[in-house]
């Protein structure tokens, strides 16, 4: 029992062990709910759900569906299964940090980030915000993100997943080369 406790309270597990846990979660999602895991779509559904209430005309389009229209929306503007999943992800991440007693509000404390971009928290926030827009936009085009397309699609051996992973690494490496320059 103590060994289990001390294992859970470690800050970092071997990525293989954590990967096995995620694999089981992905498997259970199909077994119990016949759904695939995904993160990026949840943001779009949630925003659509709010948007439909705040500015219905602006959000009445092909993406979130037209009121009374016959076409299925690309993203259902509701609190979907994935939105609940995302709530769980936030709580699970918090739980993980609490279990290793590393839970703390951080604004910018990644040593490597500070070395590359500077120590000011606002830089982290601005780059984080803009980068996240890029991520969501790209996930919208590709039809999924790292979890929704690469992992969920990959476990069904869908070609799209491997195209996506290829593209992700190609441009990720180039971006890192540009950002890190001679320090790459």
């Amino acid at each position: 029992m103590n060994r289990i406790k001390s294992f859970i309270s470690q800050e970092n597990w071997s990525p293989y062990v954590a990967g096995i846990l995620l694999g089981i979660v992905g498997l259970l999602a199909v077994l119990l709910s016949n759904t695939l895991l995904g993160a990026s779509g949840a943001f779009e559904s949630f925003v659509g759900w709010i948007g439909k209430k705040v500015a219905p005309s602006l959000f009445s389009n092909l993406y979130w569906g037209v009121e009374g229209g016959r076409a299925m929306p690309i993203m259902r503007p509701e609190i979907t299964w994935s939105v609940i999943l995302l709530v769980g992800v936030l709580l699970g991440g918090t739980l993980g940090a609490l279990s290793s007693r590393t839970f703390k509000f951080r604004f910018n404390d990644d040593a490597q980030w500070k070395r590359i971009f500077g120590p000011q928290p606002w830089k982290r926030w601005v780059i984080g915000f803009l980068g996240a827009i890029v991520l969501e936009f790209a996930a919208g085009i590709a039809g999924g993100c790292t979890s929704g397309l690469a992992i969920s699609g990959g476990m069904l051996l869908v070609p799209a997943a491997f195209l996506f992973i290829g593209g992700m690494f190609a441009s990720g490496i180039v971006t890192a080369l540009i950002v890190y320059g001679r320090r790459y």
């Binding site: 293989y16 990967g19 096995i20 498997l27 199909v30 699970g92 790292t146 990959g154 593209g167």
Partner: protein
């Protein structure tokens, strides 16, 4: 309703796994693209192999049918992936 409770618990597992793999940290994700830290690939590929084997075994046993698979449209997936990589390497998300 039950479905939502399942989603919440699966989310807990998902978030816990991400946290324990250290993928909530910028340098873990960014260093994958510099190939000085292979955590992202180890984590992703392990999850893939576990889920993949399980899914195909369960389908073989007739316990599940596969859900709708993500659509493959070569240009979209590839261009999306290319833009995605920029954001990922920049932010470490």
């Amino acid at each position: 309703m039950t479905n939502y409770i399942i989603a919440l618990f699966l989310g807990l597992g998902f978030g816990f796994a991400l946290n324990k793999a250290g993928l909530t940290k910028y340098h873990k994700v960014a260093n994958q693209f510099r190939f000085t830290d292979m955590t992202v690939l180890k984590f992703m590929m392990t999850a893939l192999v576990v889920a993949m084997s399980g899914l195909y075994i369960f389908r073989g046993l007739g316990w599940i049918t596969f859900p709708t698979v993500p659509a493959t449209y070569i240009v979209g997936n590839l261009v999306g992936g290319l833009i995605f990589g920029v954001g990922m390497a920049l932010t470490g998300y």
